[in-house]
């Protein structure tokens, strides 16, 4: 642990000296001290892009969580059903395979034209990108349930539905959570992209404005906030996962 801290301090020190000693022009990169200062000033005053860091943060995370939860609510059951019931798989899979390769950011133009640049549009973009990992991992989770578990269920005379709910879903839970964490990550990335291209609020918009106004400290503050929020959400998610799958430690 100690070595890790030493590593990070070294990195920050190196960054500070590089800028102070002029190795890198202050225009392009500002020292960490200035970034810290910008972070605190930005918390309070809305200049230069018309909203405080807090406002951006709330705008971003509310939209991200909205799209993410929607994606889980629709994607997970669909993936589970696709994994277990063949008709559902044959119906849903072709469309899914058709839309899957199109990356989230490619949806931004068409959604912006159709739904404008309001929160709904961004939630829809995030939903589209976050639903893909949910479906894939839910589907894989079910497909990788060991056959002998289902064999046991069948020899106990359990109906297909009970085998699905009492054996397949609990067994697939860990893979499900991998998918959920992946989709949170994708949602967060898609949000930043959407905000950078078509929005008036949010962290993505803030760093985009930072670029236009040549203020590297704003950009870096925005990036660090985005990074730490993403990490925070994932940490929260693994806490929930630990509680739900106490047995999670696979042998």
């Amino acid at each position: 642990m100690l070595r890790g801290a030493v590593g990070i301090c070294g990195f920050l020190l190196l960054w500070e000296c590089a800028v102070q000693l002029g190795a890198v022009s202050a225009q392009q990169l500002c020292p960490p001290s200035q970034v810290a200062a910008a972070f605190f000033t930005k918390l309070a005053d809305p200049r230069p892009d018309g909203a405080t860091l807090g406002a951006h943060f709330i705008a971003s995370s509310s939209v991200a969580l909205g799209g993410f939860l929607l994606a889980c609510l629709i994607g997970l059951p669909l993936g589970l059903a696709m994994g277990y019931y063949q008709p559902v798989y044959l119906l849903a899979n072709p469309i899914f395979e058709l839309l899957r390769p199109i990356p989230p950011i490619a949806w931004i133009p068409i959604v912006t034209l159709l739904l404008g640049i309001g929160a709904q549009a961004r939630i829809f973009i995030i939903f589209l990108s976050a639903v893909v990992p949910c479906v894939i991992n839910a589907y894989t989770g079910i497909r990788h349930v060991p056959e002998r578990y289902i064999h046991v269920g069948q020899s106990l005379g359990m109906s297909r539905w009970r085998i699905f709910t009492k054996i397949c879903i609990p067994c697939a839970l860990p893979t499900l959570f991998v998918g959920v964490r992946l989709s949170l990550n994708t949602a967060w990335t898609a949000l930043v992209a959407a905000e950078m291209m078509a929005s008036v609020r949010g962290l993505g918009y803030m760093i985009q404005m930072g670029r236009l106004l040549i203020q590297p400290d704003i950009i870096i503050t925005g990036m660090l906030t985005i990074g730490s929020t993403g990490a925070l959400m994932s940490a929260l998610l693994s806490l929930i996962e630990k509680r739900l799958t106490k047995w999670g430690a696979e042998r």
Binding site: R148, Y149, V152, S155, L156, R162, C171, A249
Partner: protein, 246 residues
Amino acid sequence: MSDAKVQVRQLTKGFGELLVLDNLTFDVRPGEFLCVVGPTGCGKTTLLNLLSSWWTPTQGEICIDGRAMDPKTQNLSFVFQESSAFPWLTVEQNVQFGMKEKRFPPELIAQRTREVMGLLDLESVKEKYCHEISASAEQRVVIGRSFALHPDFLLMDEPYAQLDIKFRLHLEDAILALNRSTGSTCLFVTHNIEEAVYLAQRCIVLSNKPTSIKAVRTIDLPYPRDTCSPEFIAIKDEITEMIKWW
């Protein structure tokens, strides 16, 4: 003979033109402990999958108490070689899983759980999950779950093949005790001839592929059997000769 618990008639299974099981016919008496032994890779697993209604036979039929076998109305249990204990349930929940699915009355479930957990000394690890207990304890959980149902027909596919020799002796006695106390009809499949002779009242010897019944050997030694006694050795050698393929 009509008093047989399980009747298997002309059981045949082929995949395309590859014939795996060739016309197997045998009976299992109520409460009997029957062993099936055969050379490595002689279709024992195919037989087990058919007997547990996981696969449907190409030809022939399996009846329990005269009626065609049906997992919904009859109690069937299967103990695999690999552990099939559910990792998301604790040891106690695992043992009770079968009974709860068959909607046994609660007090019967409690009584049977105590009985089985006692015999397999799982009391100490009652609240633990599967990854917290040793492989032998986990397999005992599966055996407990199966015997707790007092099944009409219990199939076992070499349940402790992957366990240490020391656990094997301990488990063999536990299984025999459970077979006697619950009176369930057991069919035990194994590669290990000494194990089959130690456990079985009757032993079916299978031939190589396409598998058919080579011989049926009744073993009328008293329990518990001494693996070093001359009669035990004689029977073991006799069966080994029948199977020896190298």
